[in-house]
Symmetry: C2
Subunit: 491 residues, 2 copies
């Protein structure tokens, strides 16, 4: 708590890294690109997990678990998928260590323990899962198969950043199989909606729902849908994807089913995932120069009570605070009483601000006598004196207000930072100026998209689902266009 955080306006990236570390969310580990998720960060992730898991179960999905390793031959079976991930695969080649004859007390890889076939640490699980589904699916009666997995995956990224891009990350991956393309597509869209609802109602993050272009599509998918959020530095962040796999994996792994009519057909697949990257979105969308701003629904501690006292008063004050504390807990609010006698209130205030606790209650003897407490909200930093008599209801309402306010603020920011442009000149100006989403016509070709990316570092985040078809002219080539794309620089 000694130094203040870097300012967002001065070095957004440094601000983010420092905040993630100082707030106790995560830190780099001694394994290149792998992070340690600390208890405070993990507590938020657990709330995300629990919420999403409930949503998946309500939409009929069951959890299962598939191996960490994928034999190379399986990994190769769907060629586009394999090609897409080949450059970032951690590979297990040996299964034993032995004493190093040259270095007493040290170990080395036992050259006699080489695997016949290398194992890939899963970068995603389509290959291992579809090879398993072959045994699970025979008839239309086995469909739809609606499975989700919570797991760790590894993608050997060269440049990593806590939560946003790490070599190992935690995620969930849904993998479903259906009798028809329509049903699989409906599933893909349903899960996109689940993600959007979670992002907006829980993360308080407004998102654009859309479909990826061919360049940005998941390797092995026919269509990739996504939700895209906007961070406070004007960059977009992909917060979740839902893929319609067509029959690609079914064909690669020969997963066929007997239809009602007695025919034999390949099944239709989907996969969809969100990851610990959402933790990065959470930080970057709402937090400020004093620290985290957490949406109350995901905050591990929703209310912190800081007693203000003179020497010798703490025991009595603690007793007198107890009814309020218990009242809040009974209302289902998570409360922390910070009664450390080793720190001063100002220090505590700053610490809980850094950690993003939505509501802080400061209370001293004089307050209690006046029948009031001082309440501060983290999002606006507003302080108010509230009557103790109905404090539980007030705080409950305040938490709901904060959740809504954070969302509205992020929505307002996104609206302010979504610009429709007609020319390439304007496009570049907006990107270099206020940033955000730039909504522009392009001719629909991968080449144009690539050139724009090379020249401006902006990618097409998605073709937004709510963007109407509209005749226009490509900002780069002047060729005709039928719809606008959401461009942005992105994480």
């Amino acid at each position: 708590m000694s130094k203040s955080l870097p300012k967002r306006t001065e070095d957004y990236s440094l601000w983010y890294n420092e905040l993630v570390k100082r707030a106790g969310l995560a830190e780099n580990s001694s394994v290149r690109g792998c992070m340690v998720i600390k208890p405070y960060g993990y507590a938020i992730w657990e709330k995300m997990q629990r919420t999403l898991d409930d949503m998946f179960k309500r939409t009929g999905h069951e959890n299962a678990y598939f191996p960490l390793f994928v034999p190379k031959s399986l990994f190769e079976a769907e060629e586009k998928n394999a090609e897409g991930f080949a450059k970032e695969c951690a590979v297990v080649t040996h299964y034993r260590l032995q004493n190093d004859p040259d270095k007493p007390g040290k170990l080395r890889v036992d050259p006699n323990a080489k695997l016949e076939e290398e194992l890939i640490v899963r970068p995603t699980s389509e290959a291992i899962i579809w090879s398993t589904y072959k045994g699970w699916i025979q008839s239309y009666r086995d469909l739809p198969l609606l499975i989700n997995q919570w797991a760790n995956v590894v993608r050997w990224e060269m440049r990593t950043r806590l939560f946003l891009r790490t070599a190992e990350f935690l995620w969930q991956e849904g993998h479903t199989a259906h009798a028809t393309a329509e049903e699989a597509l409906a599933e893909t869209r349903q899960m996109l909606d689940v993600y959007a609802q979670f992002a907006e109602e829980w993360l308080a993050l407004p998102v654009v729902k859309g479909v990826k272009t061919e360049n940005e599509r998941f390797a092995g998918a026919v269509e990739t849908y996504c939700i895209e959020g906007l961070m406070q530095d004007g960059k977009a962040l992909q917060a979740g994807t839902s893929h319609f796999l067509g029959q690609n994996f079914a064909k690669a792994f020969d997963v066929q089913f007997q239809t009602k009519e007695g025919g034999l057909e390949h099944v239709w697949g989907t996969s969809w995932g969100v990851s610990t990257r959402l933790m990065g979105a959470l930080v970057m969308a709402h937090s400020d120069d004093e620290g985290l701003v957490l949406p109350p629904k995901l905050a591990p501690i929703q209310v912190v009570i800081v007693p203000i006292y003179k020497a010798g008063q703490l025991d009595e004050l603690r007793e007198r605070i107890r009814p309020m504390q218990m009242g809040l807990i009974e209302r289902g609010i998570s409360v922390k009483l910070d009664d450390r006698d080793t720190e001063r209130p100002g220090y505590k205030f700053a610490e809980w601000e850094l950690k993003g606790v939505p509501v802080r209650i400061a209370v001293g003897m004089r307050d209690l006598e006046a029948g009031t407490v001082e309440v501060a909200r983290r999002d606006t930093k507003e302080k108010m004196t509230l009557p103790l008599a109905d404090i539980v209801a007030s705080v409950d309402q305040l938490l709901a207000d904060i959740q809504q306010n954070i969302y509205r603020r992020a929505l307002h920011y996104r609206e302010e930072h979504t610009t429709r442009v007609e020319t390439y000149e304007e496009f570049k100006q907006v990107l270099d100026g206020k940033g955000g989403f730039v909504v522009a016509h392009y001719d629909g070709t991968p080449e144009t998209e690539e050139r724009i990316k090379d020249e401006t570092k902006a990618t097409i985040r998605c073709l937004a689902l709510n963007e109407p078809e509209e005749a226009g002219i490509c900002i780069l080539t002047g060729r005709p266009s039928t719809r606008r794309a959401h461009f942005a620089r992105a994480y």
Copy 2:
């Protein structure tokens, strides 16, 4: 459902494997020694996780997440631990694949993407965690540090069996750091008690709490405590371990703290874990020749309702069953209505028996008119006709009875199969005859323990905590002994 299961008395091992597969708990994957945990099996594991996680949190622990990989140099730092696991480590040596120039469309490991330092896939996380704790612990104020992790780990076992011994398995691992040896020992014992309580109250598995001998101790621990259960074939199964690590890891990773008095000391550590092996214990302790027998507290489906009807009656029957179904659900009981029109009741009965659903309710029009239903309990296969009027309360009570009965049955089995012997002759007779725990004096030396193991395949499961000190004579050497050990053949 076409073939019946192998009989336990004929081939216990085959019975186990077939049951795990046919009941839909798990299956072997295409990765040697790694299993796929199927939705029904995973649903049980989720209930175990949720329950244990709540117990850990109630005892003050927080969850965190540490990397999957351990750099070889860290792995080596605590020598005994490294030595103990060296022979079963999966090792990542490369981070990229490339197109195979010799085989178009295939990939090979990119020889230019060799890691400078190999990464071990964690067989356990002490090394990576203690290297992290070094940064977290400075002062006595940072202690105790009470952390748990839910994770996958890999131990390259040569002979594997679903749930009991697999190359990859799921587990939790608690890792705590304390200011004093006494406190760390108390933590070790507390978590042993948590495990024992979970085993007995939830798995319905009576366990012997004890301490391991030096031969069987966790590599790197000063003491290993364990809970040991007895399976229906008379073999013991270690169901959980809790280790007092002394200062071994603190010294290996130089984790010191400033004491209240201003000195500098190494911290004291513990670690403790249970794994998906508990699924194996669950199956082997209670199930029978017809299938699983699940304790109601862990059963994903506690009650199955099977409608008995003539053609055309199903819709009406479904409607009339609804109030009972809803009543059970409101009571917090998980209910499945098996209204498949494609299968006959007998088939359904056998299927739910195989899957171990504790209570089955069969109900037809005539029952409803008589105001009764037919209820069958899975554990005793007893059938009874119960009045519909108070069916919810009856079923609730029945579930509690079944939980208790399964536990009592397992306890009775264990008591019948725990034999105190005085001679080596007796010892071998009991082992080869009825099996189970053989409680015998031995001289306390690793050599004697080893010889007994070589000659009989029985190991010391533990020195039971409730076994009194008692003068006696070693069954093998005739030398004096101060306490009896629990021997058994084990999984």
